[in-house]
């Protein structure tokens, strides 16, 4: 029964509440293996659980945020795999990858101080999908014809390789107001 409880909790947290946000790979772990899914489940969930995430740094530019968690404030319009779960951090690429110099920029509000910050969502390139901490949030995101704010595009431009690995979210400064699309 514990198994079923856990299963259920994972389902409701990850899937039903905001489908498409959580890791398809984590979910794959969930569904793929049936009986064997349950042992995998805590692994998938560790990333969401600051206490268990090991390196959960506190007070990163504001609230007690967990950069391995999709809900972390500065990921408000990220669509990809979080580099902080892939051997990098929320501001740096994992070893052996290259940060794309070309990217898109938007704003996210930091609940700690209520301010909007300008965020640069750079992709790390040169290795295949990291496959961890898939996160898809679209606050202020726009379709591809409005290229300033599109997160569907593989932004591995200006890099040696266009293979997408994961994404970071770097603060460029305080915004005087939220981006207009908000």
């Amino acid at each position: 029964m514990i198994l079923l409880d856990r299963w259920f909790e994972g389902m409701t947290r990850g899937l039903a509440r905001r489908s498409g946000r959580r890791s398809f790979l984590a979910r794959l772990g969930l569904g793929l293996v049936g009986g064997a899914a349950v042992p995998l489940l805590p692994v998938a969930r560790a990333a969401q659980d600051p206490a268990r995430a090991g390196a959960a740094p506190e007070n990163i530019d504001g609230p007690a945020g967990d950069p391995q968690d999709c809900e972390y404030w500065r990921y408000c319009a990220i669509d990809g795999l979080l580099c902080s779960c892939c051997g990098g951090s929320h501001t740096s690429c994992p070893p052996g990858t290259e940060m794309a110099p070309v990217t898109w920029v938007g704003t996210c509000r930091n609940p700690a101080d209520g301010k909007d910050y300008i965020i640069s969502y750079n992709d790390c390139c040169g290795k295949t999908f990291c496959g961890r901490c898939f996160c898809n949030r679209n606050e202020g995101e726009r379709p591809a014809y409005h290229w300033y704010r599109n997160n569907d595009i593989n932004w591995c431009y200006g890099t040696k390789s266009q293979i997408y690995h994961c994404s970071v979210a770097v603060v460029l400064g305080v915004a005087v107001e939220g981006q207009p699309e908000k």
Binding site: F8, M11, T12, L15, A16, R18, S19, G20, F24, L25, R27, L28, G31, L32, V33, G34, G35, A36, A37, C76, A77, D79, G80, V102, G126, K127, T128, F129, G131, F134, N136, R137, N138, E139, G140, E141, R142, P143, A144, Y145, H146, W147, Y148, N150, D152, I153, N154, W155, Y157, S161, Q162, I163, Y164, P180, E181, K182
Partner: protein
């Protein structure tokens, strides 16, 4: 479900580690999990007198009624699988090399061919990049030709409008985004690159004739590109601005009816854009939601979230309740509209695609009680993408991008009639040939 299943898992997991070689891996995994064991469309090999079967048979895509087929793309395993919606059988596969997003197969039934825009690297995942249009034989699913195109093919997770076979099947238009945008024109007859048409500020490709296609632009207009006999650019004309990119943009998941395309805005306004004249013209939009529904937070959303059954003029739209910024969220409902009366004629509950996703993994019998219990207790994840066949007894296919199963519905009654299982790991598109 013992060692064998664990074998499957390890295998699939190792696919993740080496995505580039996932194709080979996928084939093995497919063989292991059993869906490639029956060669569809082949007569069973006659056993010789000593009981040995004929060795070396290779199937072809069967002829016969093909109205209910669908191509299911997988962005992780980087290929597209062909399924029969009635039997649930897989009929074959074509590859599509590396990229984050949709690299679907575009069929040209008249030529008996399929096209895939590919990007690959000389050393698997490293080395020099090469982009090409790969031409597949639709019956043997083997490669007929490779046409080099500029190394700029758009790589995005969104939609099937990244390329198009234009009417008459003479030209293929492939979208580039680098991130400046352009369209590469390819002559399918001569198998040659025609030219690259720069289309600044516009994106996606919407075919509207043998030598015409439309695009959507960041200033709220639509663009019509007209081609010469040879498929080069003759002229490009913009419509008046009809939507606001900042306040209520349209999604790129349009649906086509002849020279008209329908686009829905984030807030649920439906625009009809007519590309048949000199200049594209957008109609006054109408709302897919009443004020009450909008007040209750109903919104459109997903990836390929609209589908149109042309002869009955039924428009299928995935909907959910949510706030701004939820335009890519899955929906638990599919609302059906009559485009002529602009009325909603049906509401379909999206089937719980978790069930057909889990069933083969858990080794549960089809139709068993435990499956029905799971269906009852597990919250449905909703669907992101739909497609409808165009025959008189149409099927509606629905998928959640992150689950390897596709639900099959009777498009007229909304009844859930079956599922396509083990369709892969993740993908945003469904293409009905």
């Amino acid at each position: 479900m013992g060692a064998a299943a664990e074998g499957d898992i390890t295998l699939l997991m190792s696919c993740f580690g080496r995505l580039g070689r996932a194709v080979a891996c996928g084939v093995v995994a497919a063989a292991l999990s059993g869906f490639a064991t029956d060669s569809v469309g082949e007569e069973p090999a006659a056993a010789s007198s000593d009981g040995a079967e004929k060795w070396g048979g290779v199937a072809q895509v069967p002829d016969g009624p093909s109205d209910h087929r669908v191509w299911v793309h997988d962005r992780v395993l980087e290929h597209t699988l062909l399924f029969d919606g009635d039997s649930g059988q897989m009929l074959g596969a074509v590859d599509g090399a590396s990229g984050v997003g949709a690299r679907p197969a575009y069929p040209a039934p008249g030529r008996n061919e399929l096209y895939v825009v590919e990007t690959y690297y000389s050393r698997g995942l490293r080395g020099a990049r090469t982009d090409q249009l790969v031409v597949y034989d639709a019956k043997t699913l083997s490669v007929r030709a490779e046409i080099r195109i500029p190394n700029k093919a758009a790589d995005t997770g969104q939609g099937i409008a990244l390329g198009a076979v234009l009417d008459g099947e003479r030209f293929f238009a492939a979208l580039n985004q680098s991130p400046g945008s352009s369209v590469t024109m390819i002559d399918l007859e001569s198998r040659e690159l025609v030219e690259e048409i720069v289309t600044g500020g516009c994106s996606m490709v919407y075919p509207v004739g043998p030598r015409r296609f439309g695009m959507l632009c960041g200033d709220g207009t639509a663009l019509l590109v007209e081609l010469t006999e040879q498929g080069g650019k003759r002229r490009a004309v913009s419509s008046e601005a009809f939507f606001d990119v900042v306040t209520d943009p349209v999604t790129v998941a349009g649906v086509r009816d002849g020279a008209k395309w329908y686009f829905a805005s984030f807030d649920g306004l439906l625009y009809e854009v007519d590309f048949s004249a000199e200049k594209p013209v957008a109609s006054e939009p109408w709302s897919l939601f009443t004020d009450d529904e909008r007040g209750a937070g109903w919104r459109i959303g997903g990836f390929q979230h609209l589908a149109l059954h042309r002869s009955s003029r039924r428009l299928y739209s995935i909907v959910h309740q949510g706030g701004t910024g939820t335009h890519k969220d899955a929906g638990l409902s599919i609302w059906v509209y009559d485009l002529t009366t602009r009325e909603r004629v049906m509401q379909i509950d999206a089937p719980n695609v978790l069930i057909p996703f889990m069933r083969p993994q858990m080794g549960i019998e089809r139709g068993s009680l435990i499956l029905r219990i799971l269906d009852y207790v597990l919250p449905p994840p909703g669907v992101h993408t739909i497609a409808v066949t165009q025959d008189a007894a149409p099927l509606l296919f629905a998928r959640n991008v992150d689950l390897g199963a596709v639900a099959v519905l009777d498009a007229m009654s909304g009844e859930h009639v079956g599922d396509l299982e083990e369709v892969g790991l993740s993908g945003t598109t469904l293409v009905v040939p």
